[in-house]
Amino acid sequence: MPPESLTCKECKTIYPLDASYVCERCFGPLEVAYAPREGLDPAELRRQIQAGPHSIWRYRDFLPLEGPPPRDTLPAGWTPLLRADRLAARLGLREVWIKNDAANPTHSFKDRVVAVALARAKELGFQTIACASTGNLANAVAAHAAAAGLESYVFIPADLEEQKILATGVYGTTIIAVKGNYDDVNRLCTEVSGDRPWAFTNINMRPYYAEGSKTIAYEIAEQLGWQVPDRLVVPIGSGSLFTKIARGFEEWIDVGLVDGTVPTMNGAQATGCAPVATAFAQGHDVCRPVKPDTIAKSIAIGNPADGPYALELARRTGGGIDAVTDDEIRAGIRLLAETTGIFTETAGGATTAALAKLAERGDIDADERVVAIITGEGLKTLDVVRGTFDTVEIEPSFDAFEASVTAASTAHPVAA
């Protein structure tokens, strides 16, 4: 099932499989179209996938490369899907699973999309890759470029979390810190990409890059024993991840790898940057841009490129898009950590908070199997948990310990 063309999502004009992302006729986004997949034997396809590597490349038949996947790549994907019974119990739900994409090489789902964009960029002969990033993408681009021996340039908002800047610079990339928000960075990079012979993962390589997100859906289906969950909760920045996960399930339903229908799709945004949630609540089919003001910087995109498609998807699947406050995001990080042992960054806090909100509202039926997508690692946004708990500081003596730590919290297990 090789990729066949780039096709405009709006007017269906067909383009060659180049580094381009915009329809010249209507300015709509271009998407990868594949050769028809009818007539495949699902059992044989399943066997091939199961014999593949423990990375996104086990799904190479559904990814936009013309040749075999490169060998010098960081192994993105194949992250754990964990049943979260304690979280479910806390929320009064029956079955909740966590897809922990913090367990990627640079600790976010961006390794998936970058692996695909970089592999395709190499096929097209690029020597340099670049990106406009809220942080996680910068980490991934710098690391994957280092692994592949390519030059890289990453453009970030100058006020990004220090952890994300440090974890990017270490790979020997060129960091360009732009004095502005992500949308300013994105506008600048859109201009630069027209001028430099670089593969911008999320601009001129965006049709290929976006395809990488489908692998989250494939993994979930495979890890659930070739089944589709009932509902997904996914953070929304540009809306690309949200829409491509649904596309992944759609493709597998179409070829017969799984039965059922596309899950109910619920999106999570931060109140301080909620153009898609706002448009959803107001019944609009386009998003009015906003100026972001939230601790959830990885999803702080005020002018989301896939906003209209995210709205359409949420409505079509009977889902929705919720906005949660910064305090709810902090509580979400805490709730996930306390009940699953997974420490997520702010976007994961938003996802957990949105899940809690859905549960509280009674939107989730008793028999539903729900999967929450945790896209990134808590160590990258440490500042937001500072001051949210106390430590017990004592002199190094047994008496001081006895005096400070109550008996209840030190009850010996054998005495119980």
């Binding site: 915009v22 209507c26 300015f27 992500y182 990079c189 859109t190 027209g194 601009i203 540009s238």
Partner: protein, 90 residues
């Protein structure tokens, strides 16, 4: 008033390859109309009725016109209007 309009690569087939041009106008809407006068093909590419297609972004001095007064946003001599695709990023 001379306003510089920057043309994205995807539209340069319609401007004989020009990356920018200079037109007159008192508002963004007037600037775009003057641009369509100069390069007729641009209208069908980016205009939608009296407005803009949904995947077209227009900026003045780096600010999205949707944060200003849209097509009614006034422009002054020397301002730079940039047209860019909205489908990038994220």
């Amino acid at each position: 008033m001379a306003i510089v309009v920057k043309i994205p690569t995807q539209l340069r087939a319609a401007t004989d390859g020009a990356a920018s041009t200079s037109v007159d106008g008192g508002t963004v809407g007037e600037v775009l109309d003057a641009l369509y006068e100069q390069f007729g093909e641009l209208r069908e590419r980016i205009a939608d009725g009296g407005g803009l297609r949904r995947f077209v972004n227009v900026y003045i001095g780096g600010e999205d016109i949707r944060f200003l007064e849209g097509l009614d946003t006034p422009v002054a001599d020397g301002d730079e209007v940039t047209i860019l695709p909205a489908v990038a990023g994220g």
